[in-house]
């Protein structure tokens, strides 16, 4: 008998695309709808601040699946179309333009949008924030010939954009609210290692300062800071964080500023309605409720949500992992440690080649961060997931294989 079920996935990013692929891989033969707000097949966003921004990658190279794949897999796509309303009682999603899609199961993977900066002049041509392909194209067009760029915010996006635009010959100045680069995520010691790398590449950085206003006559000419600086600029790239796109859940009580709450199997309080990726606030068995904006998480959560939709639910306990490429340096991080008690370094911060282990007050490994030392981040996954108290001397000793610190299961 044919499978008459209909599954709707709202969100045309990496998470939604991975979910529909997983549904087919797991043998689902019912109808699948994939709704995406951008008029393009799902693509990977990391290259937008790196290879694509520098003009090295093409759109075809960064697509999650080649364009024809969706038709081949009998996925009914609505790209360039927003889902505007969720009708919980009738179990249907309403799209802009009026189309109404009934669903047996729904996945909301609507992702995030950039936080806006509260300063006059953000509407001036030349003030850009980076989220989608159009933004990356706008930046590429604006920086032709090497111009003066101000990066507002030195989190991962700001740091990667600064590195990419420096690499293509722009003059780059940074205005960052905290005391060093990536301070909020990586803390001062590792943040300052990255600061020194940017400094070596000729980026000028102003810390403990924020933008007061953007000025210019018809287009951006300078960025004025609260600290009294006036920085001449042709382009300003604003990267000050994101917020989840939760409007579809209006009226359900799930349209929360911290993300759509889901249980450890990624189901919302509405049976058969799931959320995953940047928009989801999932209840992590190790770290507690959290919203994660990483590439790898979008893949893993998308796949996990698809299996939950099929009744194959498992607790989502991935330790979370991401990377960042800046110049010729790769940073990797696993786990989650908003605050930590002790940092053990394997390798050397000074030599910019290390894996740092972040432990809580009880000595439990919460996170691992590396520069040019990726293997031990990957090998720490299991230690983090199982909340191990590793021997600290062993962590610091590069000759100890981290896998030997995982006790036998059972």
């Amino acid at each position: 008998m044919p499978d008459r079920r209909s599954f709707v996935v709202v969100g045309g990013g990496l998470c939604g695309a991975t979910a529909v692929a997983t549904l087919r891989e797991e043998g689902f033969e019912g109808r699948i709808f994939l709704i995406g707000g951008e008029d393009v097949a799902p693509y990977e966003r990391p290259p937008l601040s790196k290879g694509y921004l520098r003009g090295e990658d093409t759109l075809e190279q960064i697509l999650v699946r080649p364009d024809p794949w969706y038709k081949e897999q009998d996925v009914e796509t609505r790209f360039g179309t927003l889902a505007t309303q969720l009708d919980v009682n009738e179990r249907a999603v309403v799209l802009a333009g009026g189309e109404r899609l009934s669903f047996d199961s729904l996945l909301v993977a609507t992702g995030g949008r950039n936080r806006q900066i509260d300063a006059p002049g953000t509407a001036l041509p030349g003030v850009i924030d980076l989220r989608d392909l159009g933004d990356a194209d706008a930046i590429r067009a604006a920086v032709q010939g090497g111009v003066r760029v101000v990066c507002v915010g030195m989190g991962f996006i700001g740091a990667e954009v600064a590195a990419s635009l420096r690499t293509v010959g722009c003059e780059v100045t940074v205005v960052e609210i905290f005391e060093t680069t990536l301070f909020r995520v990586l803390g001062g010691d590792i943040g300052r290692v990255l600061e020194s790398i940017h400094s070596d590449h000729g980026v000028t950085m102003h810390f403990n300062d924020v933008v007061e206003r953007f000025e210019g006559d018809g287009k951006l000419e300078r960025v004025v800071t609260k600290g009294g600086r006036s920085i001449e600029a042709d382009v300003a790239i604003v990267g000050v964080g994101t917020e989840p796109v939760v409007e579809l859940m209006a009226g359900t009580g799930l349209d929360q500023a911290g993300g759509i709450p889901v249980d450890p199997t990624l189901q919302t309080a509405i049976p058969g309605v799931f959320a995953a990726g940047d928009v989801a606030r999932h209840d992590h068995p190790v770290f507690g409720p959290m919203r994660i904006e990483h590439f790898d998480n979008a893949i893993k959560m998308g796949a996990a949500a698809a299996r939950s939709m099929l009744g194959m639910a498992e607790v989502f306990d991935d330790p979370h992992w991401f990377w960042s490429d800046q110049y010729d340096v790769q940073i990797q991080m696993a786990g989650f440690a908003p605050a930590w008690d002790r940092m053990i370094v394997r390798g050397s911060l000074e030599d910019r080649s290390f894996c740092a282990f972040l432990l809580d007050a009880a000595g439990v490994l919460r996170s691992a961060v590396s520069i040019a030392w990726p293997r031990d981040v990957r090998r720490s996954f299991e230690l983090i997931r199982r909340q191990i108290h590793p021997d600290q001397a062993a962590l610091a000793d590069p000759s100890v294989d981290l896998r030997s610190l995982v006790p036998d299961e059972g």
């Binding site: 990496l14 991975t18 692929a21 990977e44 999650v64 699946r65 590439f295 790898d296 893949i299 796949a303 992992w321 990377w323 790769q330 990726p374 293997r375 990957r378 090998r379």
Partner: protein, 103 residues
């Protein structure tokens, strides 16, 4: 016609490790798992990182150190995304300590 080409010494490949060889311009990774040798294209089909550098081996799976794509070194199949295209695999043999790959 395919033939076996000597690329180095088989004892260069430690248990649980992978090493890349340039074979006529092709970068081929060779690993050893439970004593068995595997040969595969060393270039991840996602973003062209070298699998043997920073890659993590678990059983016959190798996970790319860049972005986490995982391949079966025996069959080339993708075991975990973001890669969606398989890698090529090659026959490999140990001839009295001489490491040979079939090209």
């Amino acid at each position: 016609m395919a033939e076996f080409v000597s690329v180095g010494r088989s004892d260069e490949i430690a248990e649980g490790e992978a090493k890349a060889f340039d074979v006529g311009g092709q970068e081929i990774g060779v690993s050893r798992v439970d004593g068995t040798l595997y040969a595969f294209s060393d270039i991840c089909t996602h973003r062209r990182c070298n699998l043997s550098m920073g890659g993590e081996i678990e059983g016959t799976a190798i996970t790319c150190g860049c972005h986490g794509s995982t391949f079966d070194m025996a069959t080339g199949q993708v075991l975990a995304e973001p890669a969606t295209e398989p890698i090529a695999t090659f026959s490999v043999r140990d001839q009295d300590g001489d490491l040979q790959i079939e090209i």
